[in-house]
């Protein structure tokens, strides 16, 4: 008898549990959606800022289009997967006359200073398909010329899309940053400082991105204000 009563209670509890489950899903059914509709929306910028994606080069403070890199090849040997290939620049070719002049000077017993190769690399190629983002190249770099980018949306149609030419990338980014800075400066002149302060974009991203990021960040603002069940 006792067993029967216990079974009955269990049954009622079980049926109640089924109802509770339905109530939970019903609550979410009428609730707000939380997914980000990529590519129409992207995640807010502050969410991707801390992301550590494929590596990129760091420009010199005075000349952002040229990397700090001194072609020492430490990163090439540090990389466990062999992602990085760098070629050094060759010393400038001397014209026959100059060559002759140097040869004569050396023949005289002088020690003329031959022009040396620039320390900057000629090419800096990075194969992201092999990279495991272990940060060994970053630790190995003696001049801190490598850092992680926060490139979040990586997509390509072929393997070759992930063989990056980081020198070209650095030049492009420097140009973009300059353009953005110019645009900001002119805007400040035109419309006063209030608007410029509202501009959310950081200088090194293209102009289309801040709008999207703004839209998405307002969506995430709603997400925060909404309470959990």
């Amino acid at each position: 008898m006792e067993r029967l009563i216990k079974q009955g209670i269990d049954l009622i509890k079980g049926i109640w549990s089924l109802g509770v489950g339905l109530a939970v899903t019903a609550w979410y059914l009428v609730n707000r959606k939380i997914t980000v509709q990529y590519p129409k929306q992207v995640v807010p910028r502050e969410a991707s800022e801390s992301f550590r994606g494929p590596i990129e080069l760091v420009g010199q403070p005075k000349d952002p289009a040229t990397p700090k890199c001194i072609s020492c090849m430490m990163c090439v040997s540090a990389c466990p997967s062999g992602c990085i290939s760098i070629t050094k620049q060759k010393p400038p070719k001397l014209s026959p006359e100059e060559e002759k002049a140097f040869a004569e000077a050396e023949a005289r017993g002088e020690k003329p200073k031959r022009p040396v190769a620039p320390r900057n690399p000629a090419t800096w190629r990075y194969n992201y398909t092999y990279c495991s983002l272990c940060a060994c190249c970053i630790e190995a770099c003696p001049v801190n010329s490598i850092k992680f980018s926060n490139e979040l949306y990586l997509a390509g149609t072929s393997r070759g899309d992930f063989h990056y030419d980081l020198l070209a990338r650095l030049k492009r980014k420097a140009a973009e940053a300059k353009a953005a800075e110019d645009a900001k400066a002119s805007e400040t002149k035109d419309s006063g400082s209030a608007d410029a302060a509202a501009q959310p974009g950081s200088p090194n991203i293209s102009q289309a991105v801040p709008e999207k990021a703004d839209e998405a960040s307002s969506a995430s603002g709603q997400a925060k204000s909404e309470a959990a069940l």
Binding site: L18, T25, L29, V30, K33
Partner: protein
């Protein structure tokens, strides 16, 4: 009604064509609705790219399935393999004939409409069995075996629940059963026969292989169960049959228990469709909430609970009907 006149033939043909269109349209609408409900429950928008709110997504899927290559596993029994999907879909089309969407929208209203539905709904099981057997795949075989024992088991309580209604109204004609119910909710059979409705509603989950009783196609156990080896239109027909079956059982439930086309005001087929879709929504809601039952749980529920309760309910109905 019993005279087989030219008019009957005409309504029959027009009704059959209309019903095929109705099934195809409904199946597509239901697939879209299922995915939307699933999406909303899971806090995502569901299909939203093709057409407004993604309504054309099902059309795109159908086109994709039409164009897909039909593969046949080696050593499969080709005649039965291709017969099975056809056999699963066409009886369903026939079953829509006696459904009274409204006094006007009834393709064929035989005196034994209910019996017709109960008789032909069994053919679907045969299709599942043939598909599983001919696929030359062990998962399919298991799915088929599960499907047969499940459908056979669940047809009995279904029958008992339906019989109770037939007892109460003294007819097997669906239109007449609807006629005898009133427009207001308390005049529906669901209030005079709540137990029968409950048994019926649980049984249709088993009958249509819907979660939590979707054992014949249990994804995490049998990959896709009886239709593992089907691609393209073979799969599409099974898919169509599943959704057509869902519509059918919900329509029957509407006619039997929820007053059919009658509403508090403005009687018509809209009431019928609204009620049927309400039931369909509940089926989807349940699917996206519960885990799958195990096989012995399924049969225990059937043989230990639904069957005795159904029989008791039938007896009580008969007793009450005799008394008053």
């Amino acid at each position: 009604m019993n005279e087989f006149s030219l008019w009957t033939v005409f309504t029959l043909v027009v009704g059959l064509v209309a019903i095929l269109a109705f099934i195809a349209g409904n199946a597509m609408a239901l697939v879209w609705m299922e995915r939307k409900v699933a999406g909303f429950i899971q806090r995502r928008p569901g299909p939203n790219q093709l057409g407004p709110a993604g309504v054309l997504q099902s059309v795109a899927d159908a086109v994709k399935l039409l164009f897909k290559q039909i593969l046949k596993p080696s050593n499969a029994d080709s005649i039965i393999f291709f017969l099975a999907p056809i056999l699963s879909f066409f009886p369903v089309a026939l079953l829509f004939m006696p459904l009274p969407f409204s006094p006007f929208f009834t393709a064929y209203s035989p005196n034994l409409g209910l019996l017709l539905i109960l008789a032909f709904s069994g053919i679907n099981v045969l299709a599942v069995l043939l598909a599983g057997w001919s696929s030359n795949n062990k998962y399919s075989l298991y799915g088929a075996a599960r499907g047969v024992s499940q459908s056979v088991a669940y047809e009995i309580p279904l029958l008992l629940a339906v019989l109770a209604i037939a007892f109460q109204h003294g007819t097997l004609n669906l239109s007449e059963i609807v006629e005898q119910q009133g427009g207001w909710p308390w005049q529906w059979n669901v209030f005079t026969q709540p137990l029968a409705f409950l048994i019926y509603f649980i049984s249709i989950f088993g009958e249509t292989n819907r979660s939590p009783f979707d054992l014949p196609e249990a994804e995490s156990e049998l990959t896709a169960g009886f239709h593992t080896e089907y691609s393209g239109m073979g799969f599409a027909l099974f898919f169509l049959a599943e959704y057509a079956n869902m519509v059918l059982v919900c329509c029957v439930a509407t006619a039997l228990f929820l007053g059919g086309w009658k509403g508090p005001f403005l009687d018509g087929f809209w009431w019928f469709l609204a009620k049927a879709y309400g039931l369909l929504f509940i089926m989807m809601w349940v699917r996206w909430t519960y885990p799958r039952a195990r096989f012995d749980m399924l049969l225990n529920l059937n043989w230990k609970w639904l069957l005795p309760l159904g029989a008791l309910n039938l007896l009580a109905t008969a007793f009450v009907m005799k008394l008053f």
